[in-house]
Symmetry: C2
Subunit: 362 residues, 2 copies
């Protein structure tokens, strides 16, 4: 089988060092060690140390490991919300978090924009009585980016809320503000370039205090399996309650270390360069235009183009061994979604552009 390159917005191409780290893991028995052993605790501590550096999170934040960001949505709502939550919705994933709030009876408030439109500080209100504000930094479904300053502005106006930032497809590209961001969460199969099945939440002391106060008021929806407060007790000992995805936690620490060695500023620079190439190409293409037309809201990590030739373009790339995403949901036949993650080389980005640039007859 010909080697294929995945530019799908997650799962996507593996970070270049992953295969080698998996070989090391297999040789050194990482998949066989007990999750109660000191060897596991060392792996856990290493991953947490590297990830804290990569996130740029204050030392008093706690990193918790889940199996997916969907799970994190449920836990945030159960543990930090009793009276109600606010959800900035402008795509399928922000909408789904809101719908989780509905299903859990958490009285969620939806602040809605059309898909493709970003939020600005003028959309922020004072939310009295509500405990949590959900901000989707990068809508993977539509490629709309909301600047990290937005979270800061929400928190400034609402110092008591828990700000929960979905950085699923923007981490570690976006530079977040702490402690204005209380919970930053993401899955590892997007920008981190790792096998799916693991998600991370960095949780502030303030978020734990809110959970604690709900527990004291008997309004804490206790899950015996995973609750923020119980998970923190285990995390403080470099442990998890259940047998976790040991290999996933190991690989995350290794790739985080590799990214730190390369340098976040270099990763951001390269991401910006590749995004500029892709957006310029979309602009110049006779049959395409950027779905997000306001430049400051056009994502650098998930590039979405309206196209009149989706089917044909996907096929042409596939012949070169390159797989890109089609539009999400109702946009399936109208959009191309191209991931621009650290694992995606500039050479392959040029190959996409070259393959899909129409030949001009002079």
């Amino acid at each position: 089988m010909k080697k294929q390159f995945h530019f799908t917005p997650g799962p996507s191409e593996l970070y270049p060092s992953v295969a080698s780290h998996i070989q090391t893991a297999l040789k050194s028995g990482v998949c066989s060690i007990s999750h109660r052993s000191s060897a596991f605790k060392e792996i856990y501590a290493h991953t947490t140390r590297m990830m804290k550096q990569l996130i740029g999170v204050p030392e008093d934040y706690t990193l918790l490991y889940f199996s997916s960001s969907n799970e994190i949505w449920e836990r945030i709502l159960q543990d930090c919300v009793s009276r109600g939550s606010v959800h900035y919705v402008n795509g399928a994933f922000s909408k789904k978090f809101f719908s989780f709030g509905m299903e859990l009876g958490k009285n969620p408030l939806e602040i809605k924009k059309d898909y493709g439109i970003g939020f600005t500080e003028s959309d922020i209100r004072t939310y009295k009585q509500l405990e949590m504000v959900s901000i989707t930094q990068n809508e993977s479904s539509t490629g709309v980016y909301t600047n990290t300053d937005f979270t800061k502005a929400v928190k400034t106006l609402n110092p008591n809320v828990v700000t929960a930032v979905d950085a699923v497809s923007s981490f570690p590209y976006a530079e977040n503000h702490f402690p204005e961001t209380d919970i930053l969460y993401f899955s590892v199969q997007k920008c981190m370039g790792l096998p799916a099945g693991l998600a991370v939440a960095a949780v502030s002391p303030h978020a734990f205090q809110v959970a604690q106060s709900l527990e004291e008021a008997n309004k804490y929806n206790t899950s015996p399996y995973h609750s923020l407060l119980k998970m923190k007790v285990m995390a403080d000992q470099h442990q998890t309650a259940e047998t976790p995805n040991v290999l996933g936690i190991y690989l995350l620490g290794k790739v985080a270390e590799d990214m730190l060695t390369k340098g976040l500023s270099q990763i951001r620079l390269e991401t910006n360069q590749k995004a500029a190439i892709l957006y310029q190409w979309i602009k110049d293409h006779p049959d395409m235009e950027a779905f997000v037309d306001v430049k400051e809201h056009a994502s650098s990590t998930v590039i979405v183009a309206k196209s009149k030739r989706v089917e044909e373009q996907v096929k042409a790339l596939l012949e070169k061994g390159i797989i890109v995403g089609k539009g999400y949901g109702k946009f399936k036949d109208q959009h191309l979604r191209i991931a621009n993650f650290p694992a995606h080389s500039k050479e392959l980005v040029y190959q996409i552009v070259d393959t899909l640039t129409p030949v001009r007859v002079i």
Copy 2:
């Protein structure tokens, strides 16, 4: 680093073919494919087909994939129990499932035996009004085995309950009765010899009916993330709601296929042979005796010995590169726990025996 062999009762030694399947997965891009692609659906369908054969489950059962058996405990209680559940408790894990019932306010009834003592049919009562009976087939904490006929007897006396069988460290060694077993669940890092981070539940139509009737009575504790009824809708399409552990699901299907090729009867035969060697050695050893003294309750897959020389024996084995488990919880310094999974070769079992057999002075 010298190669180490893990006889810990999970995570444990990888099944011999796992490393090679991981190489194939890396080469063929399994970790990068979209979980909405037809390629993923084929992997999902293959794993489910192989696993149904390996479990020996009727065609109308549904296989659901979770991240750990701890998670499965929570979902069973949330989805199948409103009035109360029955828990046969004779070790740390059966106890923990019971405690989950307490935390969720599910009115659990504990039927208790001392650690190390098995259940027999004389322990079974008629459980009116209660919806679920939890049976731990193999207590990984103490090595007590409860025969599969026990589940059949529970169901015969209580045809309306959901029988939930924890086969975490007995699957696929034990041959279960269907449809008397409604939910059979296990994690993949024990007898399947796979990296941790995935658990499987085979769920009967009857269990879904109970969940459905609770939903209709508004007593269904709906989790927007994972509920049996919603997961079934996705499973029927060879899909999951969230981005799942794709690599884990792929490897599970491959190892299940390998085990079917080898043959379950051969795996059971080898397990029995290795167990016989270990129990005979424990019996003959001057400083050891089997923790479970009733033969029919002595597990064939997790062999637990009381020992006067735990520390010394663990150290002697470690020098040979063999890692065994110490006792669980309060038995830490009093027991050796030795996993006897399909991945453990007879040669290494002999090496344990030889290393720890005292030299007789003639």
